[in-house]
């Protein structure tokens, strides 16, 4: 029997019992819809969490620190290695590493723009290879430019409590006041003039208010002046580095090589990976709950098929008498059950997709009206793999449900079947 003949047989037979087949397909649609909507909720939750996560840090970045927590609880942190310029060069030669930048944070800086003062500002150094993401302005050309990038809501953190639009500060002169304590206990103050060249993108965290970024060369110079120790980098080294890799795929291999150098590494990707793993479990559980409805539908398929075989017993006898093999009979009935599964799977996936859109829109509406901010945390997302999986799964359920009825039909004695009224 050719496969095209099986298909036309199946379609003709199913057409003969339209109402019954439609109701059975409806059962499969409900089951598939439940699975698609449930897993879509899981995927949506995962993606919104990953989105939030990505705003906190970059999966391409590895935070490298010279210190590690000591095994002795009274000792605190112990220093394993010294991060000096030689080590930085070595690290930058590891396969997949895009850039290595020492982390230099200067705390307790007073920033004065026109008459407005902001104290306790944290200034981070950045390399022109790995700049902060900016929303306005332009990036400095060189690593020792006298420039500053303000965080998105910097204008709201001035001491005089008059919120300013950060955008208005673009292009203005800013005065950075840093101080150091000399050996004799007296305090020395240094002032650096910089220009506001850009405004950073919003991150959705506290860093939006009181952070600022300056080129790494300038940051290093200020830091060395503030620490006031000759040969600081050679003797003590940097406390930490930001290693950026070319793509997240390199994160794990680079991390291993860094750990081999006895460095302590924190990788956003590793954290993200473990979150992804737990979401796979959550999705599987949600999918399993949805599958209960499909299981019930599969009983409907078995019922429909057995009824149909009972009604078509004589026909099966005729087919056997004219030479249909048991395999042919199995193929016809498996085909019918599989088709019910396929049709229900396609319908259910489509309905599940529509339901996901509606539920997402409803969730977004209610959460935004209760002040939920941007990007609803509850969304239903149907990725392509879910659609493909749902259709394949429903078809398999149909086929499996068809096994018993098909075998029953194939095993009929042709003579007994022919005598059936």
């Amino acid at each position: 029997m050719n496969s095209s003949d099986i298909v036309s047989f199946v379609l003709v037979n199913l057409k003969r019992m339209k109402l019954r087949v439609s109701l059975t397909v409806l059962g499969v649609i409900v089951g598939t819809t439940a699975i698609v909507a449930m897993v879509a909720l899981g995927v949506g939750m995962q993606q919104s969490l990953i989105r939030q996560f990505n705003s906190l840090g970059n999966v391409n970045e590895l935070m490298v620190s010279a210190n590690r927590p000591s095994a002795n609880p009274f000792e605190g942190q112990v220093k394993n290695v010294r991060i000096d310029d030689k080590l930085i060069k070595e690290i930058s030669r590891i396969n997949g590493v895009k850039s290595v930048v020492p982390m230099i944070n200067i705390g307790n800086v007073l920033v004065k723009i026109q008459s407005h003062k902001a104290s306790n500002v944290v200034i981070q150094g950045f390399s022109k290879k790995e700049t902060p993401k900016i929303s306005r302005g332009s990036l400095p050309k060189r690593d020792d430019d006298k420039a500053i990038i303000l965080s998105n809501k910097f204008g709201e953190s001035f001491d005089d409590k008059t919120p300013l639009s950060t955008g208005d500060l673009l292009g203005k002169q800013a005065l950075l006041k840093v101080s150091r304590t000399l050996d004799d206990g007296s305090e020395e103050v240094r002032q650096i003039r910089v220009r506001v060249v850009a405004i950073a993108e919003e991150k959705g965290s506290k860093a939006d208010y009181s952070n600022a970024y300056i080129p790494i060369g300038l940051a290093k110079e200020i830091w060395l002046w503030q620490e006031n120790k000759p040969n600081l980098i050679k003797r003590q080294g940097y406390s930490s580095l930001v290693v950026t890799v070319n793509s997240p795929d390199y994160a794990d291999s680079v991390l291993k090589k860094l750990e081999a150098k006895k460095l302590t590494v924190f990788s956003m990707k590793q954290v993200l990976d473990s979150i992804q793993t737990s979401f796979k479990v959550i999705q599987a559980v949600l999918g399993a709950i949805g599958s209960v409805a499909l299981l019930v539908a599969s009983i409907g398929i078995i019922n429909t098929m057995i009824m149909s075989i009972y009604e078509r017993t004589r026909e099966i006898g005729i087919m056997k008498a004219v030479g249909a093999s048991n395999k042919d009979i199995i193929k016809i009935f498996l085909g019918e059950a599989g088709f019910i599964g396929l049709a229900g799977g396609i319908g259910g996936t489509f309905l599940g997709w529509i339901l996901s859109k509606v539920l997402s829109a409803l969730a977004a509406f209610y959460l935004s009206s209760s002040g939920g901010g941007n990007g609803s945390p509850i969304s239903f997302i149907v990725p392509l793999w879910l659609a493909v999986f749902a259709v394949a799964f429903a078809t398999s359920v149909g086929l499996i449900a068809g096994i018993y009825p098909a075998l029953r039909a194939a095993r009929l004695n042709p003579l007994v079947a022919l005598r059936h009224e």
Binding site: N2, S4, M319, V322, S325, N326, L415, L418
Partner: protein, 224 residues
């Protein structure tokens, strides 16, 4: 002449309720290639059982059936299906057509199970429809045809795979005498013109006269 069918010491028993019935009791016979044989007997004599066993529709308890050097008892389910498909053409009293299929589709059915490609199937069925005189009924369903026409469709279906043996189980039993004669003419034509071996079960002596030879069965035994 070569023996087409040899039946030796054939026994078939079955239980009817709690009673063990011996439908065929040690039957032996042989039928030659191209012979037209009628099997006569009262109802319950076992004549249909014999026909079904020769056609491979049912299994028997002991004895032997050899058809064209093929030992029927040794065939498994799959080989038996192939045997029915390639060697045998059945014609039943109640036609046994599939009600949802047209005349042409009913005739086409054995070709589908034989895996014949669609284009070949069309030309073959058209040829057969002409041979049984139904080219105008091609797209009619069984309920739209007379009994005689339905039986012609069944004959067409029996012929389509080019079998060597035609088995008719009271093929004229549901037809009026005139139509019955037409069907008998058709069977005779198949036997004489195409050289097919025809075995026909009947209880009508009028119809048995078309055959070369008549075998009488009573209570599962051959009596003449």
């Amino acid at each position: 002449m070569a023996k087409a069918i040899t039946v030796t010491n054939l026994v078939r028993k079955y239980t009817l309720g709690e009673v063990l019935v011996t439908a065929l009791d040690n039957i032996s016979l042989s039928i030659e290639q191209g012979e037209f044989v009628s099997i006569m007997g009262t109802s319950g004599s076992g004549k249909s059982t014999l026909l079904n066993l020769i056609g491979g529709l049912d299994r028997f308890d002991s004895g032997k059936i050899i058809v064209d050097e093929l030992d029927i008892a040794s065939l498994d389910e799959n080989e038996l299906a192939k045997y029915r498909r390639e060697k045998i053409g059945f014609i039943f009293q109640s036609y046994n057509l599939i009600p949802t299929l047209t005349a042409q589709q009913n005739i086409e059915l054995p070709l589908i199970f034989a895996g014949v490609p669609k284009d070949d199937r069309l030309s073959k069925t058209e040829q057969i429809l002409r041979a049984v005189g139904l080219e105008k009924r091609m797209h009619h369903r069984p309920t739209e045809m007379s009994g005689g026409e339905q039986q012609r469709v069944a004959i067409g279906r029996a012929l389509i795979n080019g079998p060597s043996i035609i088995l008719g189980d009271e093929p004229t039993g549901n037809l009026d005498s005139k139509t019955g004669e037409e069907i008998m003419e058709l069977l005779t034509w198949m036997n004489k013109e195409n050289g097919l071996t025809v075995i026909m079960v009947t209880h009508d002596p009028e119809k048995a006269r078309y055959a070369d030879r008549t075998i009488l069965i009573k209570d599962g035994r051959i009596i003449g």
